[in-house]
């Protein structure tokens, strides 16, 4: 089992080394996140200063829209690059399939954490977003981010060998992630407005359950997807 996790870590480390040298995902996500936050702040101003409940809703929606689309831009290439650069065959020959999935998931998660931190900082700086309950906010972002990473990783594997990869990725990601995003937005809104943990509890449970279901389905599906 130790060798299995070493293989998964090796995949993640290899992808991180490549990402640091090419900066494909980092640049794509950074650009999208900054452009979105700047545009939104110009048009809507310091939304966080408003006492209107609607302002928290708007901020939560915009935050997740920025995270979602930046993630789609950056994370979709994780398997596509392996196929396009013809390195997938050697990876298939050498690495246990689940270790490949876990390694890719780990690197996507790492990138997503960086993205969420950046988007949050931009929203706080440019829109004066006030987070009434930082703990709840962080937990919501963590669970939502994990769900997003799990889903984007398996979808990236599914579309890697298909024609029209980008369009297919979005088409598959939208229905799969819509329930997760709706719950994540609602729970983030609670955290921003400071409505209390009790009100956020159903949302948090749903986020955790959805993410676990996604992870279980991904682990079951991945080997067949990867080998086909």
């Amino acid at each position: 089992m130790r060798h299995f996790f070493r293989a998964a870590l090796a995949v993640a480390r290899k992808d991180w080394q490549i990402e640091l040298r090419t900066r494909y995902a980092l640049n794509a996500m950074l650009l999208f996140a900054v452009v979105t936050a700047v545009l939104v702040s110009f048009r809507l101003g310091p939304l966080g200063l408003s006492r209107d409940r609607q302002a928290a809703t708007t901020l939560a929606v915009l935050l997740w829209v920025a995270i979602f689309f930046a993630a789609l831009n950056g994370l979709s290439r994780t398997f596509v690059r392996e196929e396009e650069m013809r390195t997938a065959a050697l990876l298939r020959l050498t690495t246990p399939p689940l270790a490949v999935y876990l390694g890719k998931l780990l690197i996507n998660l790492l990138l997503l954490v960086a993205l969420e931190l950046l988007v949050t900082l931009l929203f706080v700086a440019l829109m004066n977003a006030r987070i009434a309950q930082p703990g709840l906010f962080a937990l919501t972002l963590s669970l939502g981010g994990l769900g997003l990473a799990v889903a984007t990783t398996i979808i990236a594997a599914l579309v890697a060998k298909a024609d029209g990869k980008s369009a297919l990725f979005t088409v598959l990601a939208f229905p799969l992630l819509l329930p997760l995003l709706i719950v994540a937005v609602e729970t983030t809104e609670v955290a921003l407005a400071g409505s209390g943990w009790a009100q956020a509890a159903p949302g948090l449970r749903l986020l955790a359950a959805y993410t676990l279901a996604e992870l279980a389905a991904s682990l079951l599906l991945f080997e067949r997807t990867w080998e086909s």
Binding site: F4, A7, R13, K14, Q17, R21, L90, L93, E227
Partner: protein, 227 residues
Amino acid sequence: MLRLADWLMIQCPVMNVTGSQTLRLTWHNLAKHYGARPVWQHLEGELSHGEVLVVSGPNGAGKSTLLRLLCGLETADAGSIIYEWRGQRWTPTQMRPFIGVVAPDIAVYRELTALENVHFFATARGQSVSSEQLHTQLAQVGLLERAHDQVAAFSSGMVLRLKYAVALIQQPTVLLLDEPTAMFDAAGRTLVEHIITAQRQRGITVIATNDARELAWGDLLLKAGSA
């Protein structure tokens, strides 16, 4: 499907197999089609430990396809491929951790250095390799001085040398070579000849080539597309 347990067997020492002479590869009634076009039909064959098979034939005759079938990167439409080794029967997919492949359509990571590539693929297989082993392997294929250079800066011949390093670091029981010297000069061809000679001690070699000089490396010759 390959079970996790099969992959974890990589931890077993490959070189010191007491029953290594019992390694036998057989393929029976093998058939492969691409769409409606048949590539192989009713193909039968057998290879034993120490033997070298050369597959030759015109472009599109299925030489590379046979190699991909033997390592489980593709599946046959009919028939079976079985490795008999260590008293067990292994499918090509189960045998993968013990197979080294060098082929034009199998690439290494251009963004990594030569050393990082060999280290990554060894670790991904579950091997624990020392820095000394990595450097020795790169020296064997003549890449020691370029160990810390990114593969993107390599010539096609150097990339091919690196593919050999990646395939050989695990001391493979089965070595599959597709166009083994296509990018090599005379020194490169000599290197491959030595590798094939050494592989006779470890197990089986299958070479897909049309180069007349390489046909002589085989004990057995399979002519593709000549039925």
